[in-house]
Symmetry: C2
Subunit: 251 residues, 2 copies
Amino acid sequence: MNVIGPRETGQTGLTKSLSDGKGAILSHLQSLSSLSDDDRDLLASALGPSANWRAGHELIAYDAPLDEPVFVVSGWACRVVNLPDGRRQILDFYIPGDLVGYSPRSGARAKASHLCLTNVVTASAREVVRRVRQEPSRYTALAGALSAIEDETDKGLIDQVVRTGRMLAHERMIHLIAELYRRHRRAGVGVANGFAMPLTQETLGDAVGLSTVHVNRVLQQLRREQIIKTVAGRIEIPDPALLAEHLRLIR
Amino acid sequence: MNVIGPRETGQTGLTKSLSDGKGAILSHLQSLSSLSDDDRDLLASALGPSANWRAGHELIAYDAPLDEPVFVVSGWACRVVNLPDGRRQILDFYIPGDLVGYSPRSGARAKASHLCLTNVVTASAREVVRRVRQEPSRYTALAGALSAIEDETDKGLIDQVVRTGRMLAHERMIHLIAELYRRHRRAGVGVANGFAMPLTQETLGDAVGLSTVHVNRVLQQLRREQIIKTVAGRIEIPDPALLAEHLRLIR
DNA sequence: CGTCAGTTTGAAGCGAATCAAGAACAGTGG
DNA sequence: CCACTGTTCTTGATTCGCTTCAAACTGACG
């Protein structure tokens, strides 16, 4: 029985799902700072064409210039560091609605490889970012959202350090799942109390610094404790208060 | 025998050591982007008065506004996250020459507590930062250095994730020591092939995610392998090539 | 129906934490 | 100058969390 996700069903290449995807982008940005009509119009008009990428594709190589920011329309991506002997450490995840490869510093370079973990659809954010920077006073909310995104990325990295540095296995998983749950709700992705989890347990392990086998065991424990339910490639949170309770103990 | 540091001898409150300290600030910035006369003049004139803080003092509280950036003149500080049950995770260190509490985003808030690990002397960077932002074209090098500092902070966090997430104990220590060694040399602090190490092994453990006891054992191993030497509160690198060799295996 | 990626399970081993106690040291006050 | 104190470092014994190894199981897919 699959605990987590049958593999990704695969984008069929159509641009059909864009409506959902744009929804995620909008919800996400809206949640960061409430958008004006100007902001919304800009997103509607200046959001670049969408592109399809297969799982495993490297969106941005290590040290490549960060001059082509994109929104994730659907699928998951991440930043990852590979050690010479094959070990790897995932730094953070990008889910639908997230902005990938953005830096306010012109000339900035990628500090890690940006990788598609599933098939991914992206929409170029280049024009949006350019216009917002050109007229920040017109697109104040979007400008604020960009700042907020930077802050969030930093916070995410800090959380990642705390998880891997000072938490036990089950704490790491709870903490990560809670973060992903929060972000999915914010982006309006994944209805009800749960979200789609297309990652393998191996990938999850590379994120929280645990072996695949142990991820499996920890997930079983969390299910036994009714903190999560896993059905058909989704993680459900049957009792958000219970999750919050456990979170309170660790952060 | 103390492997690492007799405790900090303590700043006596004099502003005398400012000359050394300013040296560290200059070397550090210079190494990031080569300073013009304008840049140098600004540093000489606009660097704020120095202040003394005792070990344990919280320079910036969690979530406090980041509106008072300071350079470290002497001593060590860090960013730290405290878990409810007493565990703590150090995110990064600030050594002489480093800029603490700087964010380019106005209104930004501290994402973690900023703590003095030893007695610390700081010099306000507020004026310098203000002037550089006011006339970035006049102080191009300093403007570049500020960007570079942001980049370095990010890179440091990423390294920290990799260390705690995917490295063995001795690899974590080697990796951290190598980083500190590089930064000390860059700031022109700590002559020859070594640097002052005023941190306790407990503090080191909170940084690399290990217990005090294990930090002790790992340090002994590194000494046995001649990768480091520890004398009188200093860490010496007898053979930088050997250190580099070990580094190559892990990153 | 065979293949393959992913999940699950058990057994054994290892790395690091914990516990507890002692030694070395810095700072303090007599 | 020396006894006293508290912190830090050190060491040994034990325990525990997690990894590793190996094999079986499951479901998707061609």
